[in-house]
Amino acid sequence: MATAEIEVPTQELPSLADANRDISRPISTPYRRYWLLLGICGVLIAAAGVAWALQIRDGMGRAGINNPVNWGVYIVTFVFWVGIAHSGTLISAVLYLVRSGWRTTINRTAEAMTIFAVMTAGLFPLIHLGRVWYFYYLVPYPSTRLLWPNFRSPLVWDMFAIGTYFTISLVFWYLGLIPDLAGLRDKFTGLKKRLYGVFSLGWQGTVKDWSHYRRLYLYLAGIATPLVLSVHSVVSWDFAMGIVPGWHSTIFAPYFVAGAIFSGIAMVITITIPLRWAFGLDRYITKYHFDNMAKLLLFTSLIVGYSYGMEYFLAWYSADPIEMQSFLWRGTGFYAGPFWIMVFCNVVVPMSLWFKATRNSLKALFVISVFVNIGMWYERFVIIVTSLAHEFDPSAWHVYTPSLTELTILVGSFAWFFFWFLLFAKTLPTISIAEVKEHLAHEHEHGH
């Protein structure tokens, strides 16, 4: 039981009222800095929007992709964001199931991240579609053609997996929010009261209600856990189901899931550190939480590194010339750069987390997490692009370099993500007040 170990001296324990006040303090009229950030995001999003519009007008040719390399930055970024989306539900659900208390103060942020990351990822399948104005062909609806989607296609699985993941995450997140919304309802007056009132559905926290609430929360955590695993497995199958050398591998599902958690945790760290600083939540998000996240980061980094090695081992052991040549080229050919960036960021850098000093230094942690984010984007790039560039028929080999359009949309996707996150940070409690209070209450009990 991690609960007992919170290394916050008792006398510093905030009272339940403090919790309400501190955590909902940021929900107030923002400073100019905030508007500035929001504005920057808006501009970048607009730029990406223009880029996409032009691409729809002229054709996919505006992207850099070509005949052997039919998937490029768009799919890379799609997988990247789906990966980011995974930490949220993992921290909330899995850690909830295993009763590791340190999740309490970060699960809200992580879940919000999940929602926004999926919202970002979900755009990319549309952006990369050659004829996006016919996207509804993918939707199972009764049409005069009597035609339906092909449910044998991994892309359709993907659509259902992502859709389910988004919905369940949203429910999970919202359910957790309801009691806090009620708190805000009681705190504010006027329009704000009205708004929070509507969304809190008239929650008044009777013990009966709490019992239903806890039950569902448990169930959601229970189904979300296999869901997390399934979603990124399905995403990995977009590749593993193909026969492309470098894709067609059974280790892909676990490999991708580990990678997803890896990148997700990294993103949580990247976000919570500035958040904690900006909103002065030092008393709630403590070194202890970061230490645990760092350990998780280290652990997943080891899994990812192992997978990299394993891919090469399998290729070598298969004695299949095509596999061997493909992987040899991956590390030495045109894309050696991205490959080694990937290895450095994902395997070498995180090794520093073996040392407690690094784990406890927020600066170091922040830098490392950023490295991991970059590395994980490159991992997807390496997997997708290098495999396609050198396929079975050598005469068809051709390489790919991203175009300006693709990069604009890539940057725009980050802006889009942070745009939503900024809105969230200013309108909703970034920490689950109710759960914090539950903890504090127990602490006080112990204290007495």
């Binding site: 996919m60 040719g61 005949n67 050659g130 492309v244 095509i322 050598p394 005469s395 080999w397």
Partner: protein, 998 residues
């Protein structure tokens, strides 16, 4: 069919016939084309009007193609009898006339003459040069002006070599108006003719029956690509090389550079440029000494100085190789030596030809494999020297009027000759060319003539067959038949009475009446005979059998003093014609610019070929800019590092570097002729295309040369297979019976009687690319341009990959046509989320364009990389869009497309069969590629019919499937290429992996 288009265009055509202005006709056709181009993306935007015929033509059912037989003389070195597929008044496809020996076969250049017809840059009507440039003018003024000029005297008429009645017409015309007629062919056969004149005292071009030969020794002629008669020779070559039927002929290639033909050779004797003559003589001497018969005795003295070792020394090759070759030729039953073509035509061209003739003479080929059938069918033309002289006379102001029709001397003669400047010295330059080429743009008057497909004409295809050319569609522009223009000029010049016929078609009929008069009694009346000829595309002539196929050797030849050229200090330069551009006439056709060169696979450019050993020290890689300098001039161009060339030789292609001629051609690459000083061969007056001394410097800059092939070697992946002739297996290894396992793998619906399949004989494929262009023409493939090609966005459904396979002594190319394999277990199908890619009951990988949303997953999952994605919507500038085939949807942006074995042809055949209550018969369906293959390397048919030709070939001993280990169960079976060269132990070489983009 999309009624919209078809009815529009069709009926408008006839409307034109009935007198609506041509502009309207074109406008509506344009709309139709645009409509077609908008297909596959939302609703089409054809007009919402229905335009019926005024007077329905008897023989036309709207919406169906009619094929008219006609003659194509301007597409490459040989005249071709063709069938023009006309749909609703527009020619949409050219096919070989199936009644001729070469069947439906055509060359790439012939297919692309459609784009010549629909060239948006053609001169749309008469033009006059005034102070402020070219302005529109009327025919009347033009004819009047031309007439006056011609009446002024000292007129020269410059045309391509004229076949059939045209030759006679030009002579009569020249006589009538007192002009000189000069028929000219830049890549002419003057040297060959002269040599035969010396050797046998006859002016003739023999027939080279390589099909009945068992050892072909080629001294440089690119006979499968650009020399003499590539389509016909292709068929003969395939026959000679067919393993199993007797023994496959050996093929040795002598020369400094492997051309398209050379790449098929079992053995390469890389003789230094200009020393082929010595090699030929040395071989002749060896063989003569072995044979020691009468013929040998006749030429003993002249051959005596050329001992093997001295020659080997001079030619820079191993005497051993030469001796071995001599043995092989001497022991061969029916050897044949092929003369140097254009690429080996140096300052001693005549001697070189003569040497080859002597070799043929001593080894007994003359009369057996080299036949002289009396009067040659090849039109005569003046040698290059005469043109050079004309240039001089022009600059001297001796020429008052120059009428240029269909030739382009300002481009096709070396710049050092200054023909372009000379043009300005001529008071009246009148161009009758349909294109605004370099010469035309210097003309004072442009009176554009019809394209061949809009014209009347005729010509001998063989000594017993006279072909007839007829207009197959309404003129696209305001042009006139070339001969008619001349007639009108003659009239204007006051020479009207010398011609009875009012126009050329009348003149032509007049000539044919004479032909008809010679028919035996009981022949049909002229009209019936004439219309039959029009329908058939020509008539067979009753000619006396050939008596003298082997004329005696003259004394002149027996005591000839041969000359050889001295080796230049640095490099000797070769300028050679390519399949796609020939003498440059193909340069303004998008299909030809995007046609990957058979040897280099480069597109949209010109390049400098050099050997790795040359490039290495200079640190030059493919694509780096190098400068080639001769006395005549210098060019800077991207290098192409090529294993098939001697280290002391450089090679550059002809046909690019146009200053005018159209938007597609202008400013691409360089004109190789700028490097030649225009020295003709003294004896024949032929231009020396080879042997110029050149220097090479690396500029250190990176140029742009787009190569359409990734790796040149298959890295042991057993994709392109080359085996030694002794290793040809008795039965197919690990054969999959595509006809019995169908239920297991669902190659096709078990109940369907069809499973369409294809067999491709790599041994027969010469990489000439006719199939590629045929596919462009049949399936409305867009042309994307150089930049998109560079990004790997080409749209060709069928590509010919050129793989190098190492042999023990060298290497040999295997040309590998890659198209959709129509897999039984197709990886592309299940990944499509919307069933746009699926399996048809007849075993095709269907591709439903209008269902496709463009995820491109199918293309990723295709191991053969034969799917093509529409990255943009590609425009076809009017009137190029008139060529679109209405049977095939024109794809637009965001749609995946690929080969479906010409499913439109399959469906048509099935309908015909059903109407007659039967099944489709074997051979009834021909895919476009199969149809136009000169060597019949491609066979298409029903794999479920064990008797069908394709089934038998698919089970053949040499058969294998591409990447079979993936168990995709392709419907395409490749037959291994077979060589006489010894193969190394590891059958697959890993030589020089030149990887694209890395």
């Amino acid at each position: 069919m999309n009624d919209g288009d078809v009815e529009h265009s069709g009926n408008e055509t006839t409307a034109t016939a009935e007198g609506t202005t041509r502009r309207e006709f074109l406008k509506v056709l344009g709309v139709a084309g645009a409509g077609a181009a908008a297909a596959a993306c939302g609703p089409p935007d054809t007009g919402d009007k229905l335009i019926p015929y005024l007077i329905p033509p008897d023989d036309i059912v709207p919406g169906t193609s009619v094929s008219y037989a006609t003659l194509l003389t301007g597409a490459g070195p040989e005249p071709l009898a063709i069938h023009a597929q006309v749909r609703d008044g527009r020619v949409i496809k050219l096919e070989g006339n199936p009644s001729r020996p070469t069947g439906g076969a055509l060359s790439a250049l012939a297919h692309s003459s459609l784009q010549d017809l629909y060239d948006p840059d053609r001169v749309p009507g008469p033009r006059q040069r005034t102070a402020n440039g070219l302005v529109d003018a009327t025919w009347e003024d033009g004819i009047a002006a031309a007439g006056a000029a011609v009446a002024g005297g000292s007129t020269v008429l410059l045309t391509p070599p004229a076949v059939g009645s045209a030759a006679r017409f030009y002579q009569e015309w020249a006589a009538a108006v007192g002009a000189t007629w000069m028929p000219w062919e830049p890549l002419g056969l003057e040297a060959l003719r002269t040599a035969h004149g010396i050797a046998f005292g006859i002016d003739a071009i023999p027939t080279y029956e390589i099909n009945s030969s068992d050892h072909i020794v080629c001294f440089g002629a690119d006979f499968l690509g650009t020399w003499l008669a590539p389509v016909e020779m292709g068929a003969r070559f395939a026959a000679a090389r067919m393993p199993g039927h007797g023994v496959q002929a050996r093929f040795s290639f002598v020369g400094p550079r492997l051309s398209l033909s050379g790449l098929k050779a079992d053995e390469w004797i890389p003789a230094r440029a200009g020393t082929e003559v010595l090699v030929a003589l040395a071989l002749a001497r060896e063989i003569a000494s072995r044979k020691a018969d009468g013929r040998a005795a006749r030429v003993e003295s002249v051959l005596d100085p050329f001992t093997l070792d001295s020659v080997a020394e001079a030619a820079g090759i191993e005497a051993e190789k030469l001796r071995r070759l001599a043995d092989q030729v001497a022991t061969a039953k029916a050897p044949i030596a092929l003369p140097p073509g254009i690429a080996a035509q140096g300052p001693v061209a005549t001697d070189m030809h003569l040497a080859v003739i002597l070799l043929n003479y001593v080894c007994g080929a003359i009369g057996s494999t080299v036949k002289f059938d009396g009067e040659t069918v090849r039109p005569r033309h003046v040698p290059f020297a005469a043109i050079a002289d004309l240039g001089r006379r022009m600059s001297a102001g001796e020429i008052q009027t120059l009428i240029v029709a269909g030739v382009n001397p300002a481009y096709a003669t070396p710049a050092s000759l200054g023909f372009a400047e000379a043009l300005s010295k001529v008071p009246n330059v009148i161009s009758l060319s349909p294109h605004a080429d370099e010469t035309t743009s210097a003309a004072g008057w442009i009176l554009p003539s019809h394209h061949e497909l809009e014209s009347w004409g005729d010509g001998l295809l063989s000594r017993d067959y006279m072909a007839l050319a007829q207009p197959v569609m309404q003129p696209v522009f305001d042009t006139r038949q070339r001969e008619d223009i001349l007639l009108q000029i003659a009239t204007a010049a006051g020479a009207a009475d010398s011609f009875q016929a009012a126009d050329y078609s009348g003149y032509l009929q007049g000539v044919w009446r004479e032909l008809h008069d010679r028919l035996p009694a009981g022949a049909p009346g002229f009209d019936d005979w004439w219309y039959q000829a029009l329908a058939d595309g020509g008539v067979s002539l009753a000619v006396p059998p050939v008596t003298d196929v082997a004329p005696p050797l003259t004394a002149a030849a027996a005591n000839y003093s041969f000359r050889a050229t001295a080796a230049p200090a640095d490099f000797s330069l070769i300028t050679y014609p390519t399949v796609q551009f020939y003498d440059g006439r193909g340069a303004n056709r998008p299909w030809m610019q995007e046609f990957p060169d058979a040897v280099t696979k480069a597109v949209w450019n010109a390049w400098v070929e050099l050997h790795p050993e040359t490039a290495g020290p200079l640190g030059v890689e493919t694509g780096d800019l190098v400068q080639v300098r001769t006395e005549a001039g210098s060019v800077t161009a991207p290098a192409y590092v090529y294993r098939g060339i001697r280290p002391d030789t450089l090679a550059v292609p002809l046909g690019q570097g146009h200053a005018a001629y159209g938007r597609t051609a202008a400013g691409r690459g360089f004109n190789a002729l700028d490097l030649l000083d225009g020295t003709p061969d003294q004896r024949s007056g032929a231009l020396a295309y080879a042997g110029a001394a050149a220097t090479l410097t690396a500029t250190g800059q990176r140029g742009k040369l787009v190569i359409m092939q990734g790796s040149d070697v298959d890295l042991g992946r057993e994709i392109a297979e080359l085996i030694n002739i002794d290793d040809v297996p008795d039965a197919m290894e690990h054969e999959i019976d595509l006809t019995t396992l169908v239920e297991a793998a669902y190659d096709s619906d078990p109940r369907s009687p069809y499973r369409w399949g294809m067999a491709i004989d790599l041994n027969a494929c010469t990489g000439c690319g006719a199939c590629v262009t045929a596919c462009y023409s049949e399936n409305n493939l867009p042309v994307v341009g150089e930049d998109l090609c560079d990004q790997g966005r080409e749209m060709s459904w069928l590509q010919i990959m050129r793989y190098y396979e190492d042999t023990e002594e060298g290497f040999q190319a295997v040309h590998f046509p890659t198209l959709c394999q129509q897999c039984g277990d197709a990886p592309c199908e299940p990944v499509c989320p919307v069933y746009a890619a699926y399996h048809t009951p007849e075993g095709l990988n269907g591709q439903v364009y209008n269902r496709c949303v463009g995820t491109r997953y199918c293309a990723n999952n295709c191991p053969y990389k034969v799917r093509r994605f529409n990255w943009f919507t590609y425009e076809r500038p009017y009137p190029l869009n008139l060529q679109l085939n209405p049977d095939v949807t024109v794809r637009s942006k965001g749609v995946m497309e690929k080969c479906t074995f010409c499913v439109q042809r399959i469906n048509r055949a099935k309908l015909d069969a059903k109407d007659e209550g039967r099944l489709v018969a074997d051979g009834e369906i021909q895919t476009a590629c199969m149809q136009s293959c000169p060597t019949q390397a491609i066979t298409f048919g029903n794999l479920k019919d064990p008797a069908s030709r394709v089934s038998r070939m698919a089970k053949g001993a040499r058969g294998y499937r591409m990447l079979d280990e993936l168990n995709t169960r392709p419907a395409v079976t490749y037959l291994k290429s077979v060589t006489h060269a010894a193969m190394p132990e590891s059958e697959h070489g890993h030589g020089g992996d030149s990887e694209h983009g890395d």
